[in-house]
């Protein structure tokens, strides 16, 4: 093999090696900047969690019924509320409620994960009904407390109501 050919092969190898790394970086870059767009698309295509506003709380568990979804999407984009954790290990955490439903529990795929022995895997669910929020206990072991009262049925959350789950106390503002 001639010197020149060997040189080209050697330089080519380093080049291809770096090309591999640049491809990795390109993938990471695409991953970083496309995620937001992806979530939006996914949300649009998701079956709407809420039934029509008039039926209200009674239909909370019914995921299949999905009339009037478009109006809810616009309502959510208007003014998102904020969930603020005011006591417990996650104190100070703020969650922008820009979705229709928020699951709370110890399961790692919950929207608000509470790593606390007094919290069940799927503990509670907060859903958007009309312009307000409704909290529903998902048959948890230690219960969900709204202003000190353990709740049985779903409860409409008013601003500055304090909700306690395990060691965590939070409220919804805005």
């Amino acid at each position: 093999m001639s010197e020149l050919a060997l040189f080209i092969v050697r330089a080519g190898f380093l080049l291809v090696l770096w090309l591999f790394i640049l491809s990795i970086i390109a993938i990471i870059r695409a991953d970083l900047f496309s995620e937001r767009v992806l979530t939006k698309v996914v949300e649009k295509n998701m079956p709407t969690a809420l039934s029509s506003p008039t039926t209200g709380i009674t239909n909370l568990g019914d995921f299949s019924a999905a009339p009037g979804s478009s109006s809810i999407v616009t309502a959510i984009n208007a003014t998102p509320s904020i969930l603020v954790v005011i006591d417990g290990p996650l104190q100070g955490t703020e969650l922008i409620l820009d979705r229709k439903e928020l699951r709370i529990g110890r399961a790692p795929n919950s929207d608000l994960v509470l790593d606390d022995d007094y919290v069940s895997t799927q503990h509670a669910r907060i859903q958007r009904i009309d312009d307000g929020w409704v909290i529903q206990d998902l048959n948890s072991t230690n219960g969900t407390y709204v202003d000190g009262q353990r709740i049985g049925a779903p409860v409409n959350i008013k601003p500055d109501m304090q909700i306690r789950i395990g060691k965590t106390i939070f409220e919804i503002r805005g």
Partner: protein, 446 residues
């Protein structure tokens, strides 16, 4: 419900694309090694190429069915690092004389296949990493047992002064490599449950929050244990790795700089005392500080190896001598401890930085997985697994490049050696499992 939203095929297709790229790169590397050292293409190159390629493809298929949402970059990076190692080891084998062991690359290929298949099995067995939390005290027991195993009289074996090996019949194994995974799981589980009490704020002095004295118990215990490893097994690297891992994880769990400072001071003090008392540690320090001293260079176990590696790296320069163009074989243990200097000589600074970039991305992926997880155990486990690789790389490369004293550790995935390959592929398997169980996109965490 969450499953339906996943954009599954895209990630796996990206992985397949990068893997195919890696397969091509590996073929190029092997062909180049053969052309430059023996001047012809030999058919046995197919053996070295096809076995790791088939194993990686199998692993990719397992991921498609068992962990379809796992990170797409971890497997291709792990594969490429592994085969760059084989490439270098094969190149060193080809120039060995007849009385030297020239089947290191052959064994490395077999071990690669075994390690990748074990990692795939891990994905089958560990359906969710959270189940590991149930076994934290068992992990501790297993970890300690694995560390002590080489000291057991009959099966323990001493290689170049360090008691790290276990040999049963023709098989020898370094159990410490697996111990690091077990201890990582234990630290993650233990710190998850103790996090709150460890981060309790005590008195404040010198701008540091000092925790109550009783909370120093665990750190003192781990310190004693790692000094025990240093004294009994005569291995500075393993001892530094375990203690460093614990410090990293306790810092991540509590956010208290105090633990890191105290731990660092304790370790340096311990190591200084050890260097006075044990000639083995002292020799490493002297060779580190003054390698070009002629007396040290000539001394058995002195700085000869380190100096040869420095010459090799200088010979390589910016772009390297090209595969087959340098003389990395004159550095003792070029295929294991000093593989970094062999790569640096033949691929140059540019090639060495490419290898480091691969590690950097791999570790960054582990940190990203930790960041995206919502619960403490998953976070700490990903951090721990990522930092096992990071610390090990720092200790061994730092040793070769004279940033820290030289210690005997393996370069993750590159070095010749079955135990190390198996352990690091298990880490890769666990990281893939951790990335597959991430909370869905858009989920807000702390």
């Amino acid at each position: 419900m969450a499953r339906a939203n996943r954009v599954v095929p895209k990630k796996r297709n990206l992985e397949l694309f990068m893997l195919l790229f890696g397969f091509g790169l590996y073929a190029f590397a092997l062909a180049q090694v053969q052309l430059a050292t023996i001047l012809i293409l030999r058919p046995d190159g197919w053996f070295y190429w096809s076995l790791p390629v088939v194993a990686a493809t199998v692993f990719h298929l397992v991921l498609r069915f068992r962990a379809s949402d796992a990170d797409p970059l971890i497997l291709p990076i792990g594969f490429l690092l592994n085969v760059l190692g084989i490439m270098m080891i094969y190149r060193l084998d080809l120039v060995k004389s007849a009385n030297e062991d020239n089947s290191v690359a052959y064994r490395q290929v077999i071990w690669t296949v075994v390690a990748i298949l074990i990692a795939a099995t891990v994905l089958f067995l560990v359906k969710t990493h959270l189940s590991l939390r149930r076994y934290i005290y068992i992990s501790m027991a297993v970890g300690v047992l694995l560390l002590v195993l080489p000291l057991v009289p009959v099966i323990g074996k001493t290689v170049s002064g360090a008691h790290l090996w276990v040999s049963i019949g023709p098989l020898s194994f370094q159990p410490g490599e697996l111990a690091k995974i077990a201890l990582c799981i234990f630290f993650a589980g233990y710190l998850t449950s103790r996090r709150e009490s460890l981060s309790v704020v005590g008195r404040k002095a010198f701008g540091l929050r000092i925790p109550p004295a009783r909370e120093l118990g665990p750190i003192a215990f781990i310190w004693l244990a790692s000094l025990g490893v240093l004294v009994l097994q005569r291995d500075l690297g393993t001892s530094l790795l375990f203690f460093g891992l614990f410090l990293v994880m306790i810092y991540v769990a509590t956010g208290r700089v105090f633990y890191v400072l105290v731990g660092f001071v304790m370790f340096v003090a311990g190591a200084l005392v050890a260097s006075r008392l044990m000639s083995y540690v002292g020799g490493r320090f002297d060779a580190w500080l003054d390698p070009l001293n002629d007396a040290l260079y000539q001394a058995p176990g002195g700085s000869y190896q380190l100096v040869q590696s420095m010459f090799g790296l200088a010979h390589g320069g910016l772009f390297g001598t090209g595969l087959g163009g340098g003389l990395p074989q004159i550095v003792p243990l070029a295929q294991s401890d000093f593989i970094v200097s062999a790569i640096g000589e033949e691929l140059g600074l540019v090639g060495l930085f490419a290898v480091f970039s691969l590690y950097l991305v791999l570790i960054a992926r582990a940190l990203r997985i930790a960041n995206a997880h919502a619960d403490d155990f998953s976070k700490l486990l990903s951090i721990g697994l990522g930092f096992v690789i990071a610390l090990q790389l720092f200790i061994v490369v730092g040793g070769v490049l004279r940033v820290v004293p030289l210690t005997g550790l393996t370069t993750p995935l590159l070095t010749a050696g079955g135990s190390s390959l198996v352990a690091n592929w298990i880490i890769i398997g666990l990281l893939l499992r951790l990335s597959d169980t991430l909370p869905k996109a858009g989920t807000v965490t702390e």
